[in-house]
Symmetry: C2
């Protein structure tokens, strides 16, 4: 009985692929059962957990590196919206037998690149075998000054409703990913189509804006299930309503091409989800400072409406102030 005989495949996976990502001192090089995190002075930890499943949240034939990056980024997006700075993450990976070394090499490389880019080291986790689809479950840990996590609750009548980036790209990208013929139907360039698909495949969380959200927003969440439905959730928890000018919702050039050709896609854009943009409410007095700080963080922000009193669902106003009615307001896998 030599020591080598003790090394299971899981031990080898950890050593070969994941230990290089675990450079945080509290990860103990993944040699222990748990990680230890010492909180910065006067800070709280913010914890979020999102899982993605093959065939549900990504395509079976998506690149392994992209799958890894999406799994981490959907969690980083939650931290951004909560005004929290990334501290690290834990990874549970359910691997089907088909996940070979080439898959794991590419998966770990993608994860490593984003772990570095977002300053979010691997702290620990678990690798298990599954007879089902690949599943990546990540718990992300962030830090905020004590009591300063930005909540969904807190929006006040008169606050501006603000979103980062553009809305709807990922929902249109998903359609293109499902059937590339849509690009022709929409009269869309190859580049535009690729841009939209890329927005679905690997979201761009807005972590550089987290300190700005923390400093100025009265409430915030990330847009994952669709702008209209997520805004409704934020309003419900805050006990308010909202009025949104549909024409002010920021759209990318590529999304405009599609929507111009098929106007009903505007509903898809506003309700389809997978945006991973920050949706927040900003008091009127803080709006100038918010804009300045967001620009300094290189994140585009757009005011799309205003919080109002009431408990009715947010009103999305189309041309001439006519309220738009949507068949559904957000996406659910159930």
């Amino acid at each position: 009985m030599t020591r080598d005989h003790h090394q299971s495949r899981e031990d080898r996976l950890i050593a070969d692929y994941f230990r290089p990502l675990a450079h945080h001192a509290g990860a103990f090089a993944l040699e222990d059962d748990a990680a230890a995190l010492t909180p910065p002075p006067n800070c709280d930890f913010v914890l979020t957990k999102d899982a993605i499943v093959s065939g549900i949240h990504f395509f079976v034939d998506d690149g392994p590196g992209d799958i890894a990056r999406k799994a981490l980024r959907v969690n980083l997006s939650d931290l951004a919206a909560k005004g929290a700075d990334p501290a690290g993450f834990l990874l549970a990976l359910a691997l089907p037998d088909a996940a070979d070394d080439a898959f794991l090499r590419a998966f770990a490389d993608g994860l490593s690149a984003d772990s570095d880019a977002f300053h979010c080291p691997l702290l620990g986790g678990d690798t298990v075998r599954t007879d089902g689809p690949l599943m990546v479950s990540i718990t992300c840990v962030g830090t905020v000054p004590h009591g300063r996590m930005v909540r969904r609750r807190g929006a006040q009548p008169g606050d501006r409703v603000v979103v980062t980036g553009t809305i709807g790209d990922a929902a249109l990208g998903l359609l293109l990913r499902q059937d590339s013929v849509w690009a022709e139907t929409w009269g869309m360039s190859v580049t535009d189509a690729q841009t939209l698909v890329a927005r679905y495949r690997v979201p761009q969380p807005r972590n550089t804006i987290a300190p700005v959200v923390r400093a100025h927003a009265s409430a915030a969440m990330d847009v994952s299930d669709g702008f209209v439905g997520d805004l409704a959730k934020l309003c419900a928890v805050s006990g308010v309503s909202a009025r949104i000018a549909a024409a002010s919702v920021p759209l990318s050039g590529a999304a405009r091409v599609a929507i111009t050709r098929q106007p009903h896609l505007f509903e898809t854009a506003l309700t389809g989800g997978d945006d991973y943009e920050v949706l927040c409410t900003v008091p009127e007095t803080a709006w100038p400072a918010f804009q300045t700080a967001a620009a300094a963080a290189s994140v585009s922000v757009t005011a799309v409406g205003v919080i109002e009193e009431g408990t009715h669902a947010p009103v999305i106003e189309g041309e001439g102030g006519r309220p738009l009615a949507f068949g559904r307001t957000s996406f659910s896998h159930f």
Copy 2:
């Protein structure tokens, strides 16, 4: 469009089944994207993440409440071995379509009972649909005084090797669960057989001993993959070896019945895993205080050997000091 229309099945699952478990103030009644945890003064957070998959870590027809309790308890066991007190947990649940309301009701009831019993409230999580088997991924958060997480590294020559409870019950219970005919072969009473199966189905983490481990152990881990292999891992990380008296390894009465009939089952007991007992090393000077404190915590502890210098694999001595050789030292699902 009324507010009710916004409620997806996931929203309803959270409201009906999981919100009652989320009474920690920082869980925000699961109405937010993340939880906020304020560390107790001068404490570190300890984070551990273990996932279990249907058909791999439990049986498809195990009771939903037992599945939930096992998922939480395997994580609580890690906290116990690290000397950490539970603070809360996050839950990612991948649900096949077959998981109906009756399943979820029983799952949540089991989880709730253990969440209360171990003072470990639900902080947040994610529920996703899967076309594959049920998977439960839990991240458990604990607290220790700053710098006091008990690591696998730290065992010193001369330290006693100590285990809690009894070893091997779950490995034998798994055999019985796979084929109940073993009970007859082993000449075992129904009660004994049920005891062993129960030890496999729902482990008993030793969280009451966490403060004792923290105060006195030089190194610790929980026994999940098998006593012999896990001891080898602890020794490897600590840069030491160990000498164990096989006859001193604590066995339950039920396990003794089986091993008396079929002596080769002793290897199964020592290498089969799923014990979820604490394995730790205790300096000789601290051993009396460790025993006293463990008794006060109502946890049985047994000294089974001693840490020695060297980097060779731990030696398990049988009758007359003869080293035992095992075909395998620990269990791996890969």
